[in-house]
Chain length 294, copies 2
């Protein structure tokens, strides 16, 4: 990771963490619910979405006093989706990032409700932006809902579940990812652009950038799944094949997946030329996604 | 039920039903998700919350082209809460209103996601009110989130779960209900008042009305639980006592609960005198809640 990006991340993660804790602490609610929400908020998320919001503002030389609130709202949506995803009736995961999942610690009922509360809180935040015009707040809330709900992330989770039992072609696989993970990543970029009062041209470039790093991110995930496990155990390829889980390496081969990753990386970077900047943070982010080891 | 209220309900339920169906049908999403959402939307809800929104407008001699959208948003929040409530990890109910619950038909994973999608959709609607100022839309979204989330309904569900294993006093019991069911009922009244551009005095009276019919509604529920089951089987009183589930009749006796119901009914009606109207719909609603048989 470049030194500039590293400094940016190291500076902002504690700020994001403390803002999210402040928000939840400020609300009056039953202690067990607050504990469950704070547990997942503080479970070691990489804060990629909030960092993207802040990066857009920095790259556009803009600031917004509501940026952290909006960034936190997006991370709450991401965090709720992980809590619900981990439930026994969904992916049934006992651990996430090395820690017991929310329902393992607080029970399933509380985990469902903590997720519901986080999703609701994200809109509570969008409707309490003190330094943003109501017009912009409504636009942000609408785009967040589009990205998070049936038309976006939740729809993508359904597609992903259905894709587990059928082999998808490339177009279908990209459709799953553009909904399941792409929509909220894209919204992070769009939210930064809206807070920065970006004009429609800039908004368009950034949307294209966002779309392609979203896909690059997912391809890299799929590649890491194969290569790191193959090195370690040589097991994943078989389990992937037997479960018929569609992945980029399964569809394109490992080399084909690498090429596709390169292509999307280039397409994302290309859309940043309007910035006329050396080393914009968004480019460093794209490079980081390309090269990341886990 | 009075003839006036009956006519109002019979006229508006089909309108509310068709608006909710129209909204979900208009969204692009996976078929299985749409089916699951439409199943619970069309599972025979009494539409009390949407009807309250419309009643406030009618009693205030006001109209709003966005009333149906806001009313639908509230009903979506109510419907999602029932889907999640019925899950095996929560109340584990196989039937609701005589029909199999959402997860019995579509599976638990889809039921969780259908609920998530409905909650998100409610805010999608609040952020797409075409005939309402952004200031009002933001106020509505904020109040809906306050009423639905950790500070409202979800918080109340946690309190209710915790109350199942301890005996609550009257104050604690009212606190549970004011959060679990009262917050969203109150918001229905407040939303109508906001859409009608009610001044702060009127808003205050209606909030008081809402608070007391919310509590009356719950007391009547508790009373019906005892009386209808006692008549039928003579079982409930025992199961209530053994589960230590706190109810108004358990705390106050059946007669005491009836008196409390009467008191809250009167308090709610008293707050409608500012309307200077014969038979306001909201008064007929309060009477209906008092007298309902199921």
């Amino acid at each position: 990771m470049s030194e500039k990006l590293k400094q940016f991340i190291d500076k902002n993660i504690p700020i994001i963490d403390s803002e999210m804790n402040r928000i939840v602490q400020s609300l009056q609610m039953p202690k067990s619910l607050k504990d469950a929400m704070l547990y997942s908020i503080n479970a070691g998320g990489k804060r990629i979405r909030p960092l993207l919001v802040l990066s857009v503002l920095e790259d556009l030389n803009a600031t917004s006093k509501d940026a952290l609130k909006v960034a936190s709202a997006i991370e709450l949506v991401h965090t709720y989706s992980l809590i619900h995803d981990d439930l026994p009736c969904m992916d049934d995961d006992d651990f996430r990032r090395g820690k017991p999942t929310n329902h393992k610690v607080f029970g399933e009922a509380t985990a469902v409700l903590a997720g519901d509360a986080m999703l609701t809180l994200s809109f509570q935040l969008m409707a309490s932006l003190d330094n943003t015009s109501p017009e912009k707040a409504v636009r942000l809330a609408k785009l967040l809902a589009d990205a998070a709900g049936a038309t976006g992330m939740v729809g993508g989770q359904i597609l992903d579940m259905e894709g587990e039992t059928t082999r998808l072609n490339l177009e279908q696989l990209e459709n799953v990812h553009m909904h399941k993970t792409g929509a909220l990543l894209s919204f992070s970029i769009e939210a930064g652009a809206i807070l920065a009062d970006a004009d429609e041209d800039v908004f368009g470039y950034l949307k294209e950038y966002a779309k392609h790093i979203g896909l690059a991110f997912q391809i890299k995930d799929d590649i890491l799944d194969v290569t790191s496990t193959t090195e370690a155990l040589g097991k994943t390829a078989n389990s992937d094949a037997s479960s018929h889980k569609s992945t980029y390496p399964a569809l394109l081969g490992l080399e084909g997946a690498e090429q596709q990753l390169l292509k999307y990386h280039d397409l994302s970077i290309k859309n940043l030329s309007f910035l006329k900047k050396e080393q914009p943070l968004l480019e460093l982010f794209a490079n980081y996604i390309m090269g990341r080891l886990a």
